[in-house]
Each structure stands twice: as C-alpha cells, then as structure tokens.
Assembly symmetry: C2
Homo-oligomer: 447 residues x 2
C-alpha cells in the first residue's frame, strides 16, 4: 500500500477501504506521510466525496489515533453535548448545569474558539482562577462529586484530527460533510461519554447555511455515533443571528449566569432548556423529551442549576464571587455604542423612515468582528482579550429609529476600536416590514 | 491576494485570473507558497480543470519563471521538435540530422527519461565523450556551424515547471491536459525556437491512450504555441508498441545510426521522415510537407543526414568512431533471450497452436521493464545503466511459433535478470488471427 495509489484512487472517485484510510491517518499522524500528499488527498476527498462507510472508517481511525478516555468509573449514563459552532453560543455553560442538576453526569471536554466561532474553554477562562487543564483522574473525581466538570481537550485526544484540521484550515478543505463529521465525531467518540446530544447550527453564522445541508450533517453524525454504539441525537437549531445578546468571553459567561438566574434572553433560555431536555431524556432520567423539559425548567427555577455552575467553578479553582459580582471579570478599557444612523434609515426615494425593522444580521461577520476586537483567534497562536466583545441591544425583527443603540462594542486594545465600529455597523440590514420570526429549533434527528 | 482564496476559487470551479496564476507560480517557485497549498491547488485544477485561457496563462507564467533563450543570432527559422513521451522513441537522433541536412537550424534542448519513457539526453550520453551540458554561447556557435546541436535543458529553463512537476509526480496530478500542456509548452516556448513540431504519442505506451484525448492535447498545445507567436504543428502518432526494435540507451543510439545508414526498421524510418518533412516545411525550406518529405528522403539516401549526426557528435566532444564500431558503446554484462513458451502457444481447448500472431504489446510495461533493467529512472536521482535494454525480435502482427525468440534483454546488474525475464515475458499477448495494422501517423493538427 502506498499514499500515491490512495490519492489516485480517490481522485478517480474510488471508495477507500478501511485499511487505506488507516494507512493514511496513521502515516500522517506519525509524520511518515508528507503534508503535500495529505493535502492532495484531502482535496480529492473534498471534491469526490466519501460515502458513509468511508466516513465511519475515517472517524474510527482518527478516534483511535490517540487516547480513548475511560469514564466507566463514573456511575450512570454519561451525556456529552456538542455544538457545530456558532456566534454567541454560550449554551454549554447553561445546559451542562441544567442536565447535571437533573442527575445527568456530564464529563465534558471542550475546545477553544477559532475563526468566527467561540469556544467554551476560552469563555470559562474568563472566570478568575478557573482551571481548564485537569488530569483525567481529577476530572472523573469532579464528575463523581457534583455530576459536572468541563475541561479542555488534551493533546492526546484524536491527535490525527489536530494535524488534519490544521492542514484543512490552510488548504480550503474544511467545509466538507465527511471531513467535518470525522473531525467532530472522532473527538466525541474518544471522550468516553455514553450518549451525545449534537446542536447542529444552521444559518448565516454556521458552516451549514441551509436546512438541507444541516440535516445531512446531522444525519451523518447520528449514523456514525450510532454505529459506534452511542446513544445520539442531533438537533438542528437556528444560527441566523447570534444567540442571546453577548458575543465575546466574559460577557457571554455573565449572560449564562443571568440565564441560570432566570433573567436570560428568550432564545438562549429556550435553546438551553431544549438541549438539556434531550440530554436528560437520552441519559435515562426522563421517559420523554417533554418530561426532560419539565425537569430542566424545574432545575432552572429552583436555582439548582445555578448551584451546579457554582460548584463547577469552585471545583476547578475559580472565584465563585463572580456569580454575584461581575466586576470581577476582566474589564474592557473602552466601550462604544453603535447607533442607528441617518443612512440606515434612508428610504429608496431618499426620504427618512421614522421606523424600520432589522431584517438581517450577518452573523458570520459579527463573529469575525468580535474576533477582530480581540475576543477570538485568527490562528491558534493568537492570545484572546477576554474583556473584548459585542453586546446586541437590538436583534432580528426588532424595530429601530434614528439614534437607537444597536450594539455596544468593547475591548482593551484601542487600535481595534475604529475598525470594530465599522465592521459591526455593517452587519445589520433594515427593512420596512417586520420579518417573519425564525424557528429556533428546526428539527430533531434520532435513530 | 492569497493562496487560500486561489485554492478555494478553483475548488469551486472558478476561472483563475492571470494575476492569480502568476501569484501561485511565482510564490511557489520562490518557496513562499508551501508544498501542501500547491498540492491542494493542483488537485483542484486536476479535478475542476482549466480552460484554454487559464492554460495559456499558466504556461506563460511558468515560461517566465526562468531564462528565455535568445536564439536571434542564429540565421533562419529555428525549428524545435518535441515528443510527449513514448517507449523506444529515438526519433530526435534521426529527425534532427535529417532536418539539419535539409537546411533547418536545430537548436534543441532535450530532457532526461523518467518512469516508463526514455529521454534523448540519456541516450546521447551513451556516446563516449559526448557533452550534453553546454553554455548557451557555445550552443549557438555549434548551430551556426552545422545547423545542429542537442543539449540538456539547463536548470534555468522554466524552473517553475521543475518544482511543479516534481510535486505532481508524487500527488497523482500528472495526467491532466492543462498541466501536461503547460509543462511541455513552458519549456518549449522558453527554449527560443521560432517553430515547433510536436509528436503527440497515442496508445498503450503513452500518457494519452486514445485518439480523442491525444487530439485534445495536440489541439491545446497548438493553440498555446500559436497564441505565443510560434509556428506550430502537432502530429499524432501511434504508441501501441515500442518504436523500432531497441529500447534502452546505447542500443537506441545504434538503431538510430542504422536508420540513418538506411537499415532502420520501417516504423522508425517512416516516422522520422514524416516528422522531418513537417520540420522542413514549417521552417520554410519546402513549400509543402510533401516537398519536405522528398528533401528528407534525399538527406537520408545521400548520407548527408548521417554526416550531420557525425558532426553533432564531433562538435560536442563525442567519439565519432562509434558510428562504425558499436563495441565502443557501453556493453552489457549479460544477455538473455525470451522465447515463445508452450504456455504462450496453448489454445483455449488445451491444444498447442503451430502458429500464432502477436496481438498486443503492453508498451507501458515494456518501458517499465526496461527501466527496471537499469535503462531508466524511477526517481530523478537514479543512475542509468546505459548498456541495459531490450531488443524486440518480434513486433505487433508478427507470427510466432514455439521456441521463437521474442526479445533479448540485457544489462549489467545480474540481480535484475530474473525479474526482467518475468516482466518482459508478460508484455506479449497472442491470437490466432493476424491483427489489423495500426496506422503510424494518425492525424496532423495545424492552424
């Protein structure tokens, strides 16, 4: 077997065998196959596609390239949750405490943000003292104590994915169904949970722009997880605007805490309760998603979920006072309000409207604007400004008049202010008719 | 402009602009673009293809990546000749003297063999003392003296092609029309001749297996050359069996000398006269290819072409005695005859035929067998055994009986003998009906 023949076969549209896929994944991870051959194969896979069996084999190979976490010393059905990546998505910080409060053990490994999407680990690190790098033994102990720990993925989880993703990122081979699936699922399957709830984002702030593509991704991931013996549900949810109002790190944690206090924005609250309901159901603590939903609502209203978050912070060395004193979070050096301008209110005939509606938010670009303010990374080496971010005062369908505040942007680096104002001002579109409300939960896929 | 966007554009089937192609070719040649991004782009080009304008721009970029040879100090229309690569193809050694004898100045830069195809420069180096590395000034002087010089391509001719070809070779992106065309034509256009005759090989021993693909390649190369201001003709010729009887280096030079003495195999003689006739025509020394043909025949019969070859050898430091004493060439240490076996003569019903016909010769594999005997290279670093090779006693359509000699194989390395016998025995197929003769000259393409 050699790499040239494997590239040639895929180039001609052939179906790669399990052995051929293993040969590539092992050889590339061990640096025996050079980047340029891997890049040629990835482009051939991108353009000629992989079938479900190939995707399953690729996922398995990547999963087996590193450690498989053994969570068997934690009692009960361990449930994981994963989002395919969106803007303002702080649901893990809410969903995990909700499900844990309902009796579900959550031993979650999370990632960092890259590009226009944020990552849970960065957000958690805005809590002073919070440790995200924890040994497996300690991790298991934390979950056994309080049903909940969230830590960063170790380098030993699916190292093949790290190498392959880094290469895809610079060779324009990221947004392929099989490659996305194998990247996400190899890590999830190696992380040791028994059940997984996937939040598949769909819209102008997600990898998948339309429902059809999101469905295909959700179905493929459910198939792959099921074939590996996991309980798995995919929920397709709207990402045509940021979730909630806060985009950044500290500000997203604050919004998550507010949500657990019962003061959260409606979309974040609803999505979190829904995801938690399926986690409670799939984890066997409720006989139906509806019953799970009621248990999630009760965990929220009783304050038990907030208590779980506090226990999580305490358990991982964080300062629990942040829950009641938000000034303990990293503070921005500057803040600027973006207001509705005359230009925004201009009609086609040159007149000025009294009132308009926000008809579109370019979600991907608001994610990128947040990154440029310092809240995200362009490359893995970038250091994040945890205080930087965007707060949306108006969202899709809201009415606006001249001078209304659309958003507040903030950060530490003054040199990023002017471009931040420009970028955020551009993401809003306006219309004279109130747009139809987007459905937040678009579809549930399970086997 | 950045490489990621260029890869993305081609991946989506976009048409690359001249600037984008320049950016890639320059950046890759200067080592500013890494191999893995170039590999991803090449695979995207392979699968999404390039149109004629892109191919023209790619060729121009590659041509301009190095020196453009100035042959203006040579009087007359300088005519170049190029073959897309075949097995047993020693025509340059015959055609160039024929055309030179008819008054055409030939300032030819040739390549070395790789894979199953041989190269003129390797063949010439089997003449003791013959120098293929010559400075441009000396090269021009040689052509002004005798109308003929054949030297190796310098590293300064289309360096982009060298880098890109080496990458294509290991990423399964060689056999694409635009990439083949740009590779060949960038070197031809940089070599400074005014007119070019292309021998486009077609058959089981060529990159292009069928007439349709060979026509497309020929038409594209003619278009590209024409657009660059060259006179250019492509001739599609048969490569369903080796040309002549000798495959190797020394043995091919001997066969070329014999052909110039009037004793050559029919196919080599006919093809050489035809190619020469178009070179004489395109070079303005004949008013039609037919008149050119007559002049080529006269150059052969008069011995003037042989004299040109002797002058070429002498001018470049070679021992001209080789022309009459073939023992001066590197001699093989061993030779083995491959004979017709009982198995080859077996009928479907188990009986033994008295007589059969050679119905097929796997030309690519006979080229590879020759390479494995030592006559060719698997990688650019391999050192060639100039004495090694294959001599065919029987060719397509010849009748054979039990015990007849099919081929003689020879070499210096004894360890290659057994596998050589096995490989060469396998390339022949036999049938009971005499197969139809292949047309040697399949099509002429000119503008």
């Amino acid at each position: 077997m050699n790499m040239y023949d494997i590239i040639y076969k895929k180039r001609e549209g052939g179906i790669l065998t399990k052995d051929e896929i293993d040969y590539f994944v092992k050889g590339y991870t061990n640096n025996n196959i050079p980047d340029y051959q891997a890049a040629a194969l990835l482009m051939a896979i991108f353009l000629k596609k992989m079938n479900n069996e190939e995707t399953f084999n690729l996922t398995a190979s990547m999963k087996n390239s590193g450690d498989i976490i053994d969570l068997s010393s934690i009692n009960g059905i361990k449930v994981d949750k994963h989002s395919t990546g969106g803007v303002g998505d702080k649901t893990t910080l809410i969903v995990a405490p909700l499900a844990a409060a309902a009796g579900i053990p959550i031993a979650k490994m999370s990632g960092r943000g890259l590009g226009f999407t944020g990552g849970t680990i960065d957000k958690l690190e805005s809590i002073p003292g919070f440790k995200t790098s924890v040994e497996t033994e300690e991790f298991i102990k934390l979950v056994n104590n309080s049903n909940l720990s969230v830590i960063g993925q170790t380098a030993h989880i699916a190292p093949a994915d790290k190498k392959i993703y880094a290469l895809r990122d610079v060779t324009a081979t990221v947004d392929n169904l099989s490659l996305i699936t194998s990247s996400i699922m190899s890590k999830k399957l190696a992380s040791g949970s028994d059940a997984i709830v996937l939040d598949v984002k769909c819209g102008n702030g997600a990898f998948m722009n339309n429902l059809h593509d999101a469905e295909k991704l959700g179905e493929l991931m459910v198939d792959i997880g099921f074939a590996d013996g996991k309980k798995i549900i995919a929920i397709i949810t709207d990402m045509n605007q940021p979730l909630g109002r806060a985009i950044g790190n500290s500000n997203e944690v604050i919004e998550a805490i507010e949500t657990l206090k019962g003061n959260g924005p409606d979309d974040i609250t609803q999505l979190s309760l829904t995801l938690a309901s399926y986690m409670i159901y799939i984890g066997g603590k409720a006989s139906s998603p509806d019953e799970g939903y009621k248990m999630a609502v009760s965990a929220l209203k009783s304050g038990n979920a907030l208590k779980k978050l506090i226990k999580l912070i305490k358990g991982q060395g964080g300062n629990i006072d942040v829950v009641n004193d938000y000034t303990l979070f990293p503070q921005p050096a500057w803040s600027v309000e973006i207001k509705v301008t005359r230009e925004m209110m201009m009609d086609e005939n040159g007149g000025l409207s009294e009132k308009k509606y926000i008809s579109n938010i370019d979600t991907k670009n608001i994610g990128l604007a947040s990154q440029h303010l310092g809240a995200g990374r362009a490359t893995k080496e970038d250091i994040i400004d945890l205080s930087a971010g965007i707060y949306l005062h108006r969202k899709l369908g809201d009415s606006v008049s001249l001078g209304d505040v659309l958003a507040t942007i903030s950060g530490t680096d003054y040199s990023r202010k002017e471009s931040g104002i420009k970028e955020v001002s551009k993401v809003f579109s306006f219309g004279n008719i109130k747009p139809e409300k987007q459905t937040l939960i678009k579809k549930v896929i399970m086997k």
